[in-house]
């Protein structure tokens, strides 16, 4: 049910995703608390954070994950929960969430949690570190996610992190490497029909090309990713 709900979420069918998660939760709560229930709470936290942007609810679910994982002695799940809590706190504008994200990511790696989860933890840390601290800090986390994913053969995670890091390179003024890195990501994503990575990359690339006045890049920028500070000067 959790796998199916994740698939529905990926397809944007969030109502069905939520219905399935609730069904799984109700069934599991009838039994003794288990790691499956922890994962269900975790999926609910992710659903509220990632699908709905409802960070207060995501925080509530994340705290439930952390509490139950702690009670069960499931250290890696508890570490993952810390990352989720940090993500939700940051979403609520609380910079203290960054510490949760950092500790959660480091702890997940140390405990050898699920590799995809470790990669996602650093990728998420990069997003919020970028916004709360600066592009240098964001890039550091994204590169960690890239390196970690690459070492474990997770090309998808690596390329996703690299696509997202283009925005940080753009901020830092490191524009020359952007096109080369973007070409690498685009070639990979197109060869595997990884559309989400391609969109990420196109959007970030649009920034660079837009700044150079390239028509195609400007179009992509408008179509796919319009940060607040993107504005027309008078």
């Amino acid at each position: 049910m959790l796998d199916l709900s994740a698939l529905l979420g990926d397809q944007g069918r969030t109502d069905e995703e939520k219905r399935l998660l609730d069904e799984a939760r109700v069934q599991l709560e009838r039994h003794r608390p288990s790691s499956e229930l922890v994962r269900t709470y975790a999926c609910l936290a992710d659903h509220h954070s990632l699908s709905l942007g409802a960070f207060q609810e995501a925080l509530t679910w994340s705290n439930k994950v952390a509490s139950l994982a702690h009670d069960l002695g499931a250290e890696s799940l508890e570490a993952e929960a810390l990352g989720r809590r940090g993500y939700a706190r940051c979403g609520l504008g609380d910079s203290g969430g960054l510490r949760d994200l950092r500790v959660g990511a480091a702890r997940s790696e140390e405990l050898k949690a699920r590799p995809w989860s470790v990669s996602a933890s650093y990728t998420n840390l990069g997003d919020w570190a970028w916004l709360f601290e600066g592009p240098k800090e964001g890039l550091e986390a994204k590169r960690h996610a890239f390196d970690f994913s690459s070492r474990r053969g997770m090309a998808g995670g690596a390329m996703f992190a690299k696509a997202e890091s283009l925005a940080m390179l753009f901020d830092l003024g490191e524009w020359d490497p952007i096109l080369g890195e973007a070409d690498e990501v685009l070639a990979w994503s197109r060869s595997r029909e990884a559309r989400s990575v391609e969109i990420k990359c196109d959007a970030r690339l649009g920034n660079r090309r837009g700044a150079f006045g390239w028509r195609k890049g400007s179009w992509l920028r408008r179509q796919t990713w319009v940060p607040f500070e993107t504005r027309t000067r008078f």
Binding site: G93, L131, G134, D171, F212, E229
Partner: protein, 119 residues
């Protein structure tokens, strides 16, 4: 939207500040825009967004020129040009306010330069 923005992250706060500067300039409140651009340039520099730092320097220079303080505009204009050159941001380097590379017009806008019109 800018007036009502309630943001927590530094990047967003800086973006709102820049938004206020742009609006102030567009509304003709040039002194306010000058102060806001000055603050924005510093904040973007601290944060590390190079392009926005350059834009804020350019905005500051525009406001200073509009206020008749051309001498003071020279420094932010040169800072803006240096940033845009390093980035290779060609469209921005073509801004009519920026001094030409190598030559420059230290001390103010050249006499043959188009009259600056705010907004």
């Amino acid at each position: 939207m800018v007036e009502e923005a309630d943001v927590g992250a530094i990047r967003d706060k800086n973006s709102v500040l820049t938004g206020h500067a742009i609006l102030a300039e567009a509304r003709g409140d040039i002194e306010k825009a000058r102060n806001l651009n000055q603050e924005a340039a510093q904040r973007w520099a601290d944060y590390g967004f190079v392009l926005e730092e350059g834009q804020a320097h350019l905005g500051l220079a525009r406001c200073l020129i509009a206020l008749g303080d051309r001498d003071s505009a020279t420094e932010p204009l040169h800072k803006a040009r240096a940033i845009f050159e390093r980035l290779g941001a060609v469209p921005l380097l073509n801004d009519r306010l920026l001094p030409p590379c190598g030559g420059g017009f230290l001390g103010g806008v050249p006499s043959n330069h188009p009259t600056y019109v705010c907004g």
